[in-house]
């Protein structure tokens, strides 16, 4: 088995290397037999990787400790289901899984497009095959899942207890499917660029594969949140941990892409930007893997650390350089015929003056202690002077900028916000590590130099002396402006039409302001025990749901008017015939429901602690909890303490919760198994630690409101994505529909 596994990995390497060589030879000679042979090599490599994955799975399930990988991640006492999931519990297995998914996706793409997009396919193979070859090389050179154990141990180490959770069966594979899937749009987009010809449907293919990968990534992130909530036992689901951020950053890029793709398909806008986003998403996926694998950044989620991460960094840099060259050389091919705003020389001149004014104001700010108000008045006067001097350019630019108050403009603004959000999370993730690097560099300088810096620039010296950390509180604080603006966009986007502002938007804006401003002022003044920010966020979420529902309602009303359909039939036909738009709406509703859950659980969590003996009762908000019993049990893997608590409300027992503490024999750290009593309004989240053998125990109770809405929202986002990807049948435009109806009559 070991020999066969190694042979299959080497054969995969040979096949992938051959497919690249054959593709290049085919491109040079224009002999299609080379390409056909290269495609066959990819299919064969897929088969060999499938076979090697089967071998590893068999070895894991049969607990064959001759495999070093099996001996490290499986033990004779580990439950069988976790033996199978050990496939992705370690470094080598997860990389093999990555390669497997990648080659299956590439093979499916070749099967789908190798006849219809013949010119693009050779370049597609170069990128996708090159990427697969990189992973294959890592497996062969640094982390081979078929390495023999020497000596063969009588029993294996077993799996990290944190990974022994049902979420771990699904969370890593879905995340990998998401990460790997972005290779296909990346290879296809760059392949199209290199082939020098964009097929009419290339953006549709890119959208389809991006959406597939985005769905998997979304499911992976939501499952990861559930795993963190249930398994890590701190009461939260998102801690802005670097590994969590590493999956969220490409998700943001892909979400931005899914929005601008619509502009390219329907208006021919943003061709360059879309290619950039495709490349960026792929690179961020590799970056995510680098963070998870390298230990470059400390994380509670990093389970397989090694130096291998730095090869990812090298690969990422190589791809980046290659992409920049290709994008630069192909920039003319990507020039769109349409422009939302075309700035002419007069506009640029005005913008330069305004930029100069901003710079001038910044300089004045530094010396304003001396000139105070004179500085501000001079800037205002200068601004008025420039606007009068360049009045025709200002009027023209103003008219152009007004075009941003349209559906196109909203898409662009949404993209800006996603990009700022992405940069913020990215910077917050890498900044502490970069700062640490700078500290080390500074510490390497001579003492005399550092002393002179400390005397002349004390602030800078202190900056290099103090270790910085970006806490979750920092992220939570700064994420609010992004959430507010995004919610604001979600309220108004469904109401905007192409090109111009319409009355509906203005009326809706007035309604939103009339409701939310008084509420925010009322709560902001401290009346009641609610946070004004949560009220505004809840309010905006509600309005966003109303906007989507009203848009669907008005579309059904149009069908009723023109085709005489009933409300139900009209809605069914609407959803059936435009899966893209209404799948997107369903996803948006999912995001809004998820946001409701996040607002509830972020602003209104209550926390209680108590240390009690068996038979005692303690209070947690409106609940009384009676510590009934402590039970002890064990299985071959671990010892388990289980506390039994009765939940009493208004003097009546309403349920029973059983938090546990596990002591795994092969792992020293005790594991908390929380118990959650949930309903639509709140989670009663109980953490337990035994204090002594007599049964005294410590309990921490968290009342987390609306958490279940997060999972429901996640489900709706996924369902919406799946629905949006289903093929549409040919649609009749409304005038045809009306004519058809008349004909029937």
């Amino acid at each position: 088995m070991l020999l066969l596994g190694n042979f299959l990995l080497i054969a995969t390497f040979g096949l992938l290397a051959y497919c690249l060589v054959a593709t290049v030879l085919g491109l040079r000679s224009r002999d299609t037999r080379w390409w056909e042979s290269a495609i066959r090599a990819v299919y064969a490599a897929t088969a060999t990787v499938i076979a090697s994955s089967v071998i590893l799975t068999i070895a894991l399930i049969s607990r064959d400790f001759r495999f070093e990988y099996v001996a490290r991640h499986v033990s004779s006492t580990l439950p069988l289901a976790y033996c199978a999931t050990a496939f992705w519990a370690g470094q080598a297995g997860s990389l093999l899984f990555w390669l497997l998914v990648l080659l299956v996706f590439v093979a499916v793409s070749l099967r789908l497009y190798h006849r219809s997009h013949g010119e693009v396919i050779p370049y597609f193979i170069l990128f996708a095959g090159g990427s697969a070859l990189f992973f294959n090389l890592l497996l062969l050179m640094f982390t081979n899942p078929f390495a023999p154990a020497n000596p063969v141990p009588p029993d294996g180490l077993g799996m990290n207890p944190l990974l022994q959770n049902v979420m771990m069966v699904f969370h890593p594979p879905t995340l990998f499917l998401g990460y790997v899937g972005f290779t296909i749009p990346f290879a296809f987009a760059l392949g199209s660029l290199l082939a020098g010809r964009f097929a009419l449907d290339w953006i549709t293919i890119v959208r389809k594969w991006t959406l597939v990968s985005w769905i998997f990534l979304t499911v992976g992130i939501i499952l990861g949140m559930q795993w963190a909530y249930v398994e890590l036992g701190w009461g939260g689901y998102w801690g802005w941990d670097p590994v969590e951020n590493a999956s969220f950053i490409p998700w943001l890029a892909a979400t931005a892409l899914l929005h601008t793709v619509i502009l390219q398909e329907q208006k021919g806008l943003f061709k360059k930007w879309n290619v950039f986003l495709v490349v960026l998403t792929f690179l961020l996926c590799i970056f995510g893997t680098f963070i998870t694998r390298s230990g470059f950044i400390e994380s509670v989620h990093a389970f397989a650390l090694s130096d291998i991460g730095y090869y990812f960094l090298a690969f990422m840099l190589l791809v980046l350089v290659l992409c920049l060259i290709i994008l630069y050389r192909s920039r003319k091919k990507l020039t769109g015929q349409n422009h939302l705003i075309r700035l002419d020389a007069a506009d640029w001149s005005l913008l330069q003056w305004l930029l100069f004014l901003v710079a001038f104001y910044i300089v004045l700010l530094q010396i304003r202690t001396y000139y105070a108000r004179a500085a501000e008045y001079s800037v205002i006067l200068l601004l008025i002077g420039i606007l009068v001097w360049k009045r025709s350019a200002a009027a023209s630019l103003g008219r152009k900028l007004l075009r941003l108050l349209s559906r196109e403009g909203m898409f662009i603004l949404t993209n800006f916000i996603f990009m700022f959000f992405l940069l913020f999370v990215f910077w917050g993730t890498v900044y502490p590590t970069l700062h640490e690097g700078l500290m080390e560099l500074y510490a390497g300088f001579s003492g005399g130099f550092r002393e002179s810096v400390a005397q002349s620039l004390p602030g800078l010296h202190e900056f290099f002396q103090r270790k910085l950390a970006v806490s979750p509180a920092f992220f939570n604080k700064w994420v609010m402006p992004f959430a507010l603006v995004l919610l604001f966009m979600m309220v108004f986007c469904p109401l905007f039409g192409w090109r111009k502002l319409n009355r509906k938007v203005i009326y809706f804006l007035l309604a939103v302001l009339l409701v939310l401003v008084p509420l925010a002022i009322y709560t902001g003044l401290g009346v009641g025990a609610v946070s004004w920010m949560s009220v505004v966020l809840f309010g905006l979420t509600g309005f966003a749901i109303i906007a989507i529902v009203s848009d669907v309602f008005s579309a059904v009303a149009i069908r009723r008017r023109l085709a005489g359909e009933s409300w139900l039939r009209g809605a069914a036909n609407l959803f059936r015939k435009n899966k893209r738009r209404y799948g997107g709406y369903l996803s948006h509703i999912g995001v809004l429901i998820l946001i409701i859950g996040i607002i509830g659980s972020s602003f209104y969590t209550q926390e209680y602690e108590s240390e009690v003996n068996i038979g005692e009762t303690f209070i947690a908000g409106e609940w009384e909890l009676k510590y009934v019993d402590l039970q002890f049990s064990q299985d071959p893997e671990k010892s388990m303490y289980q506390a039994i608590l009765e939940v009493i409300r208004n003097g009546r027992t309403v349920g029973r919760i059983t938090p546990e503490k596990h002591l795994h024999r092969k792992f020293e750290q005790p594991m908390t198994e929380v118990s959650i009593d949930f309903n639509l309004l709140r989670d009663l989240y109980v953490i337990f630690s035994p204090v002594n053998r007599a049964g005294r125990a410590y309990f921490k109770i968290l009342v987390n409101p609306l958490v279940i809405w997060i999972w429901v929202g996640g489900l709706l986002i996924t369902l919406g994505g799946i629905y949006a990807i289903l093929p549409n049948r040919r649609r009749l435009v409304l005038s045809e529909l009306a004519a058809k109806e008349e004909h029937h009559a």
Binding site: M1, L3, L4, F7, A11, L15, Y18, R30, D31, T32, R33, W34, W35, E36, S37, R40, A41, Y43, A44, T48, H114, R115, S116, H117, G118, E119, I121, P122, A199, L200, D201, W202, T204, E265, Q266, L495, F496, G497, W498, R499, K500, N502, R503, K504, D551, S554, A555, I558, L562, K577, N578, R580, R581, N728, R730, R731, L732, V733, L734, S735
Partner: protein, 101 residues
């Protein structure tokens, strides 16, 4: 020993499968077919239908609607024309590619 035999047979099978295009008659040449037009037309038809909904829902004024409608229809007609055009000439050599222009 059985493992070595399996490896040998697998190796032979892989080599035969990958090199087959050089032995037998050539497979169909790699070139673009008309399916891309179908997809593009479907997207344009969808856009037309959505545009009409937006117009009737009062999100777009009449002038803009007519302008955008004619633009989309123009693109649709172009796409249909391209789809109807005959495929590129077959390759001169049976092993040479036939790239569409």
């Amino acid at each position: 020993m059985p493992e070595v035999l399996i490896i040998l047979f697998a190796l032979l099978g892989i080599v035969y499968y990958v090199c087959q295009p050089f032995f037998g008659k050539t497979a169909a040449a790699a070139r673009s077919t008309g399916t891309e037009h179908d997809v593009a037309m479907r997207v344009l038809e969808e856009s037309l239908a959505n545009l009409e909904y937006d117009y009737r829902a009062g999100k777009i004024g009449e002038e803009d609607f007519l302008d955008m409608q004619s633009d989309l229809q123009h693109r649709l007609t172009e796409c249909r024309d391209q789809a109807r055009r005959p495929a590129a000439e077959p390759a001169k050599s049976k092993h040479r590619s036939t790239r569409t222009t």
